[in-house]
Amino acid sequence: MYEGIVQDLIEELGQLPGVGPKGAQRIAFHLLAADPADVKRLAAVLQEVTEKVKFCRTCGNVAEADECRICADARRDPSVICVVEEPKDVAAVEKIREYRGRYHVLGGAISPIDGIGPDELRIRELMARLADGTVTELILATDPNLEGEATATYLARLVKPLGIRVTRPASGLPVGGELEYADEVTLGRAFEGRRQLDV
């Protein structure tokens, strides 16, 4: 235990994902030893992020306005929506620089053992976007692991009556991993070779 404010800092850092008590302590002492100007810059960015960044009301991606820059970009093809689990997956797909459609961020994958069912994800919002017939293809780019597959299976079945082409990035993506860790070439190939999902 440390005194007052240092302990507070360690406890706050310990709330971050992937940071254990030891890691929190290490980061805290790193910050204490660092150039105060650097730490102030970090504090300013954190402050700014909490004030300015929100989630796009259309797709759920991170945004600095009501809509994210992709949804607000008229050059992006509105007939294709790529469904991903997290905002960081949008960044991963954007890196391949070939995809010109839009996105929908679910906010996770269906994982009943963690209490996450379809109602806990942004699936209702997705269905609302599909209602007017603009969208002709839905690319289900959930993670290439069991929960991602099961989520894709659920969505494909849900969307089936709408007659929209439903695809899933194919071969090349090794199973068991997460989208954000795939390199651009592999991900690009997987998108190119996406196959229709039949349920």
């Binding site: 992937g18 053992i113 069991l146 099961a150 993506l173 199973v175 068991g176 991993g177």
Partner: protein, 253 residues
Amino acid sequence: MRDNGLVSIYRDDGIVLRSHKLGEADRIVTLLARKTGRVRAVAKGVRRTKSRFGARLEPFTHVDLLLYTGRSLDVITQAETIRPYGEPLAGDYPRYTTGTAMLETAERLTPVEKEPSLRQFLLLVGGLRALGEAEHDPRLVLDAYLLRSLAVAGYAPALEECAVCGTRADESTMLRAFGIAAGGLTCQACRMPGAATPAPATIALMTALLRGDWRYADASERRHQIECSGLTAAYLQWHLEHSIRSLRHVEHA
């Protein structure tokens, strides 16, 4: 680890029950292992798409493992798939949700880490195999698994004698009331307030599922199957005190 010379490596096989993200690319994997019982172990780098573990540490997979004992958590150094029970489930949503409820139940019925529970392990393997082979209705596979794993844990519902006074059922004593808190069927004298009165065929189905009489279970009527799963779920939730979260999400085909 090497400096104290106390590295302990062991080998076991088990079913992956669940996994949690840890840090940048690692996962904490919870397994029900044949010899060790329920164990939590770290799989390093498993979330990277180029991980050497691939899909081998996904939930439902039966894996052969090499682990070393860590200070707080054990660490998985090698994993080979014995049978990927998750594969047939990913493309079948009702079976996926059914299987998840089985994994969560297995976790909850083995509350003490590293306490060997061979019978729970074998029941889970059998249940997942039956679910994947699609020979029986997933609802029946789930209920058979829940009832039998409860029985192994010492919570078998009384079906042949009164759960309270022990009177055996015969022509004069009918056991018609099913009391969740009483522990199963009771005679009229011991009937608990709020006890259900299921159809005799529902109780016969429950008995068949506990005994593994699939011929009887497969031939049972849908309405009795539905009543049986309702009673089984209520009984399970009551005896585990905390609810099995996955049960709410189980979808029936």
